[in-house]
């Protein structure tokens, strides 16, 4: 079988008033003569296509040819394409001429004689995308192809799948293309967040438990301070049993994450609830068309099976994927098994209406080792074998773990409406999660008569659904002759949750006491307005505000059944109400080509935990103020993937004030409120990509966080003790290399990638520091024809590290032991080296269903 790669980069010879580029909605692949290309040969044809207001291609001409067969194949195909039309500054569709480079590539054959029999047209896989407004370099027509074995006319097409995003709200507004860095091993899609500077992800709960996020001096828990979105679906759970704002993104299939937006700080008025430290949105897409299956197996019986399907000819935003993961886990009590199915369709309903439907279902179960006391580990008295490995990866309570069931769906329509563009989405999610944790052993169950404690195990359950919708109206216009863009958004959301916490008997996990049982209804109505103005070509201004309204209905089902007046019902309802306004603004000055300076500031808010509200209370918000100044430099050269490179360098310094912070309470197994806090820091980040060969992303971040006392003045931002556990200095580097080699006349694909995280010693309570952490994950893949073989090594250096540390009182010496009331260091062990072998099979699909 041979491959013919065609690479499409959409380039628009756009008049200045074009606001929205045309994007291909339906594509047809070129039919190429079978013997047109020699093995390993590349050809490029650049076409100019006239796309009318309906998105139809009216005229195509060759701007730079590659020979008659290639030119004709490209013209014949592109003439049949259908686009989402370009739009002018008023949102009206308009005629444009698009410049479309199409790249053909044929890999080297193993047995040329085997490839002569099949020339049926096929759809290929999209590996690369290019969409740029930079000038196209001249490409000289290539010499005629030498006689060669017939080429299967397979095409790699890529469509530009979304309108250009609004300008970033701040330097710390990251639009991260995953691209080649997908080769760096990651446990889950959430780990892609580490491509943004200063993000550290750890997990004390096991494979399937949402990770804890450290960002900008915040211990953001499992989402309390970071807003999570899955392509428009909010993931944070208000008043979750496991903590207000708990967000589980573990289930997202990494292969389907095309890019992600990470906003560090509350600077964009579109950012919603929980955007205290920032916002992360996973945007889905699948560039590789056709069917692909990836199977890996490795140490500790770890199995990972992923399958993706991208129907050829449809937008990259149309795909389906499944993922199954299981394993025994390292050490004791860390086995897991989970599966996810996701699918999305994007297409045109009528001429100007684009629709998107997204669905996902996931289920999983996992065991968790929980945390260990440092003194027990050092004394080697943990209930495991005496060797260092067994002790480090031991557990006190083998009943810890959890399960997750989740279903999500979204429907979205985008259309031109009046002078602007309008989008409307509706979503629904259902979740049922149970987490069994035991942080304190035997501390809380003190009984009369000196009876042995029954145990502090907690079963935290959250069950319920979320319904919501988002409306967005964007109007490009002019103000006093300057370009402007006004955006108005409306979000409505209702959560209905049953949250329960039960104390469990040690080992038997039979519930003996209800810690809490709440029926929570939270309605959230938010609106935001954003105004962007470009008064001069070198100055961009943004100002806006977000207003949020929350109504809480709360039923405590665990009240006592008697009081001083006798019997009473153990159920009591309460209501609360809260509203807040959050202004946000930024200014960006382009001082040199590619170099801009930016300042941004904004207020954000975290809604109240319903469990902490009283009846009739004006629900307080945890308000955050953040400001930053920074610089960004971007250099892009070349328009063709094969010869392009880009460099983005940025850095910023920031300050953040939080009015009511939350810290982890091990007795409750969830976060509890503390006072105000101050944070400040800075970061630097650079990403360099060179054609399809190299992709390097590196960052260094520094942060400080303080908890001032009630008597400390507001202006003293470094008053009070430091917030423990938060990384002060950390660095992350991701590097991916891809190359093709000729070995014995055969083209072989080789890819290597490494990702390394370095965390300097973190401040811990009692004036101590943690050990430094250096963890490196790497992969090496060799591909030939339709399959790739590889090896993945997580924690390549086999570092023994404590991925998360706590300081609190606990007693794991048994039900009769006297509890320690002095806080002791506890830690969750980081994973040891894990090596897996991988096999990836790329299957092309045929239009012709006959055999």
């Amino acid at each position: 079988m041979t491959h013919c790669f065609a690479l499409l980069g959409l380039l628009l010879a756009a008049p200045p008033e074009v606001a929205v580029l045309p994007t291909p909605a339906e594509t047809v692949e070129p039919t190429l003569p079978a013997d047109a290309l020699a093995p390993g040969e590349d050809r490029t044809v650049i076409l100019h296509a006239h796309v009318d207001k309906e998105g139809k291609v009216k005229h195509v001409e060759v701007h730079a040819g590659a020979g008659a067969p290639f030119d004709q194949a490209a013209i014949d195909a592109v003439a049949q394409w259908l686009f989402f039309p370009a739009e002018d500054i008023n949102g009206a569709p308009m005629d444009v001429t698009a410049e479309i480079p199409i790249h053909f590539h044929r890999p080297v054959e193993v047995h040329p004689e085997e490839t002569t029999e099949h020339v049926a047209p096929t759809h290929g896989h999209a590996h690369e995308a290019a969409a740029t407004l930079a000038p196209v370099e001249d490409i000289a027509p290539a010499p005629p192809a030498a006689p060669a074995p017939p080429v299967e006319d397979s095409l790699f097409t890529v469509v530009q799948d979304r309108s250009p995003p609004a300008p970033p709200a701040a330097v710390s507004d990251f639009d991260i293309e995953v691209g080649q860095l997908a080769d760096v091993p990651r446990k889950s899609a959430t780990d892609l967040m580490s491509l943004a500077p200063g993000v550290l992800l750890v997990n004390h709960g096991g494979e399937g438990h949402a990770p804890t996020i450290f960002l900008r001096g915040f211990d953001a828990g499992e989402g309390k301070d970071v807003e999570f979105l899955l392509d428009g679906i909010p993931l944070n759970e208000p008043s979750s049993a496991h903590g207000h704002g708990y967000a589980d993104s573990y289930f997202i299939i990494p292969e389907l994450v095309d890019n992600l937006r990470v906003v560090e700080g509350p600077f964009d008025p579109a950012q919603g609830d929980f955007a205290i430290a920032g916002t992360t949105e996973f945007r889905l897409g699948l560039k590789e068309r056709g069917l692909s299956t990836n199977l890996s197996y490795g140490m500790f019986n770890s199995v990972r099976l992923a399958g993706t399907f991208g129907p050829p000819g449809l937008s990259n935003r149309t795909f389906a994927g499944v993922l199954f993961r299981s394993g025994d886990g390292y050490g004791t009590n860390r086995s897991y098994m989970n599966g996810t199915a996701m699918g999305q369709y994007e297409g045109r309903l009528v001429s100007d209406v684009r629709v998107r439907a997204l669905g996902a279902v996931t289920a999983g179960r996992f065991n968790s080792a929980g945390v260990l006391r440092q003194d027990d580990f050092l004394a080697r008295r943990l209930p495991c074998a005496d060797d260092e490995f067994s002790q480090f990866f031991c557990t006190y309570d083998t009943t810890q773990g959890g399960s997750t069931q989740r279903a999500l769906g979204l429907l979205e329509a985008r259309l031109k409406l009046g002078p602007g563009r309008f989008s409307q989405s509706g979503y629904a999610t259902y979740k049922n999660t149970h987490l069994r944790e035991n942080f304190t052993g035997f501390v809380t169950d003190i009984r009369d008569g000196g009876a042995p404690q029954r145990g502090d195990g907690l079963d935290l359950g959250t069950q319920g659904f979320t319904l919501g919708g988002n409306s967005l109206y964007v109007i490009p216009h002019k103000l006093l002759g300057a370009k402007a863009r006004t955006e108005v958004g409306l979000s409505a959301r209702h959560d209905h949750l049953l949250t329960q916490g039960q104390r469990l008997r040690y080992r038997s996990i039979i519930p003996y006491k209800t810690a809490f049982s709440n029926l929570v209804d939270v309605s959230n109505l938010s609106t935001h307005g954003t105004f962007r103005l470009r008064p001069f070509s070198f100055l961009r201004l943004m100002a806006g505000a977000r207003a949020a309204l929350f109504v809480y209905g709360f039923t405590d089902q665990n009240r006592p059944d008697n009081d001083r007046d006798g019997f009473r019902l153990p159920v009591q309802s309460s209501e609360a109400f809260g509203a807040t306004i959050m202004p946000r603004a930024s200014a960006t000055l382009e001082v040199l080509p590619g170099l801009s300076l930016s300042a941004a500031g904004g207020l954000g808010a975290r809604s109240s935990d319903g469990a902490a509200l009283s009846d009739g209370e004006a629900a307080p918000f945890a308000n955050v103020f953040s400001a930053e100044v920074g610089a960004r430099y971007e250099l892009v050269r070349g328009t063709m993937i094969a010869n392009s490179y880009s460099l983005i360098v940025r850095g910023a310094a920031y300050y953040t004030f939080v009015g009511q912070d939350l810290v982890f309470d091990p007795e409750q197994g969830r976060n509890a409120t503390v006072g105000r806090s101050n944070r400040m820091g800075a970061y630097g980040q650079a990403r360099y990509t060179w054609a399809n060969f190299l992709d390097l992303n590196t960052s260094v971040a520094y942060s400080e966080a303080f908890l001032p006392g009630p008597d400390d003045p507001l202006y003293n931002v470094i008053a009070g003790p430091r917030v423990p556990y938060v990384p002060r200095l950390m660095s992350r580097t991701d590097l991916s290399l891809r190359e093709r080699f000729l070995i014995f006349g055969q083209e072989v694909r080789v890819a290597g990638a490494i990702g390394a995280t370095l965390v300097a010693p973190k401040p811990l309570p009692l004036e101590t520091f943690s050990d430094p952490i250096l963890v490196a994950d790497s992969s090496l893949t060799v591909g030939w024809r339709w399959f790739d073989l590889g090896v993945v090594a997580e924690n390549l250096l086999d570092a023994r590290y404590r991925q998360q540390e706590f300081n609190y009182m606990s007693s794991f010496d048994g039900p009769d032991a006297f509890p320690s009331l002095i806080p002791e260091r506890h830690f969750a062990a980081g994973a040891p080296r894990l090596i897996r072998a991988t096999l990836t099979v790329h299957l092309e699909t045929l239009d012709d269903l006959s055999w």
């Binding site: 008569g449 200095l729 309570p765 009692l766 430094p772 250096l797 009331l821």
Partner: protein, 268 residues
Amino acid sequence: MSLDRCLLWCGLLLPLLVACEAGTGGKAVNFDMTLRPVAGPDDDDIGHFVNDRGWGITLDEAYLCLGPIYLWENPPNLSVLAGRSPLDTLSSWLVPRAHAHAGDVFFAGGQVFGEYREQVVLDALGPGLDLGTVEGVEGRAQTFSMELSFPLGQTPGRAALDGHQAWLSGVARQGEQEVRFAAGFDFLGSQLDRTIAEIPVDAAVTDFGRFDISVRPSAFFRGADFGQIVTAPDDEGRVRLTPEDQPHVQMRRGLQRHSSYDARWRAP
């Protein structure tokens, strides 16, 4: 240089680039703890004394099962009231302060600055015990608490307690009256019942100091009137006191009374 060594140096140097201190406050310390019986100021000896009811008491046996022991941050509740100035009192009249607690927590001791998590059987007529080095946190402790606990299976000396949490025996004399007595005490109710809380102390807990706890057996007998015994003596003429007997009630209170105990902090 090996990779591990290189990483270690990197790890050691990095915090120096940032700051020398974690800045999180507090300091973990270790100090010694002792438990010794002492005589009262008017006592002849630890085991020979006259109580406030005029009974001369000679102890034959005095055993207590004690532990765990905690050093607390907060002062006793009563001392907060006692320490008020007239201005404070006037202020509290004018603007009364609301108080609330969880109902099941009698004394909120605040942070714990030191703890001994074992239990020991103290021979209150013996030389005392060195409890060894214990862990703590630097700070000023203003109270400590001890638990009169039920001896667990491995606790040395538990046989001397005759199955109780405290055991006292001896002879009480007043005039011609002589009462040979023995009493076992159990504190099996709530934690409040078995915990001797709010024992005042002023201990600036630091590294390598010593916390000496003294137990005054004569204080156990305050208010005990051995003429009010309803239980008949046994064949050997010894009265096994029960909760029906006034001395038993008073001795039980004495064991729970914080003034029966004291402590001093000795700086290194």
